[in-house]
């Protein structure tokens, strides 16, 4: 494999600051980004990426490619939690298996954003509607996970407050802000873009860098939880992203996505949620152990994807799209 892709990925400020954050925890520095600063950064990133996607979506319009891509996204978001559930059931009980499956069926916006920065680095274009795919893929896995719990447990008292669940799945703050910003981007178009550009574009890379510094801190603090998760889950957290990305690439090739979009799509398939889904699972499946689904997604899959995964999937694209 073309190691230069990994190296050129690693030598970017965001990734290096992610390492710096991990190092801070490992050497026990007292560096911390106090709450609610990371929250501010993540709201900013969602707003900026959604807005940009919306502006670009207006330009491209809703073509057949758009529809096909969004369809593929929805299907993957429903199918991934299904088969990962059965893999996980080999070793875990239903509650944990469903919660982890939902986590991996959903996506990580920061991974997506890091991948888009990676593409910008390489001067590879990608389409604004990939942000719509991002938004679409966040929630379905939560619903699939809960259906799985309902099917595979005999706990008769269980009755989800479905309205609350749907609320949480489709109106949680990340999905809401992302979709809202996308719509506003579509409504204001090029004109809105120009006035917001110094804020949403100029600062973007810097805020991402700062935010990944915090993600490094957060991920590293989770590493010691991995002792409890065991070898099975750690291997799962590295192998499943690769498998999912592979399936994603196959689909992308099949429906003829351009290279940039294909990378983002595979990254969406490969990434796991560590905010929205864990929050939903704590509320709806309290029997599952949060440290299992949070730690694997945050301390294994997230770093793996942004360090090795993104260039690896790009390498796959280079091979397949040649």
């Amino acid at each position: 494999m073309d190691a230069s892709l990994i190296v050129s990925n690693i030598l970017n400020p965001p990734i290096l600051f992610f390492f710096l954050g991990m190092t801070a925890v490992l050497v026990k520095s007292d560096l911390e980004i106090p709450a609610p600063i990371p929250k501010l950064f993540s709201l900013y990133l969602l707003l900026a990426i959604g807005f940009k996607g919306g502006v670009e979506l207006t330009k491209s319009g809703v073509t057949q490619e758009v529809v096909l891509t969004l369809l593929a996204a929805t299907i993957m978001a429903c199918v991934v939690p299904l088969y990962t559930f059965f893999i996980l059931k080999l070793k875990l009980d239903t509650y944990d298996a469903a919660a982890i499956a939902a986590t991996y069926g959903s996506i990580s916006a920061v991974t997506f954003i890091t991948a888009s920065a990676f593409l910008t680095e390489l001067n590879i274009d990608f389409d604004g509607y990939m942000v719509a795919a991002l938004a679409l893929m966040e929630s379905p896995a939560i619903i699939v996970g809960l259906i799985l719990v309902n099917l595979f447990t005999v706990d008769e008292k269980r009755e989800f407050a479905w309205s609350e669940v749907l609320q949480e799945a489709f109106l949680n703050s990340s999905v809401f802000l992302l979709v809202g910003s996308l719509l506003i981007g579509m409504l204001t178009g090029e004109h809105g873009w120009q006035v917001l550009e110094p804020f949403t574009q100029g600062m973007f890379y810097g805020v991402l860098t700062f935010f990944l510094l915090d993600m490094g801190l957060v991920a590293a603090r989770r590493i010691k939880d991995l002792q409890k998760t065991g070898v099975f889950l750690i291997s799962f957290a590295i192998l499943i992203p690769i498998v999912n990305a592979g399936i994603g690439l196959a689909i992308a090739k099949f429906i003829n996505m351009p290279q940039g979009d294909a990378l983002l799509f595979s990254v969406l398939c490969a990434s796991a949620s560590y905010i929205a889904v864990p929050a939903a699972m704590r509320m709806t499946v309290p029997e599952a152990n949060p440290s299992l689904y949070v730690s694997t997604a945050l301390a294994v899959t997230f770093p793996f994807n942004i360090i090795v995964g993104i260039p690896l999937y790009m390498y796959g694209i280079n091979l397949l799209w040649r």
Partner: protein, 103 residues
């Protein structure tokens, strides 16, 4: 000055609205909420406050002794299901005009 009960609940922030509903249903309408409380997990890696929704809230409510039974009945199932702790103690209220109104 007269005797009232102090209820203190520490629970995950996602339970907050449910707990406040329970308090209200039991007739306890006054409360104070402190957010961003780190917990036992502080030492076990669960403190990534607003990143992962695993932060706690600290709820204090003062109520009349006879309201206590209702509160316990309503709050206990929540804590059993979602986690969290609840403790009761005795305090003296300094009567003020406003407080009479709120009790």
């Amino acid at each position: 000055m007269h005797l009232v009960k102090r209820i203190e609940i520490i629970a995950n922030s996602f339970e907050l609205s449910k707990i406040l509903d329970s308090l209200n249903k039991s007739g306890v309408h006054g409360h104070a909420v402190i957010r961003n409380v780190a917990g036992q997990g502080l030492r076990e890696g669960t403190e990534d406050l607003d990143m992962t929704m695993l932060d706690n809230v600290y709820i204090i409510a003062f109520c009349m002794p006879d309201q206590l039974k209702g509160v316990v009945e309503n709050v206990r199932p929540l804590l059993n299901k979602f986690g969290g702790t609840c403790y009761i103690s005795d305090v003296m209220e300094i009567r003020s005009v406003k407080c009479i109104a709120s009790l």
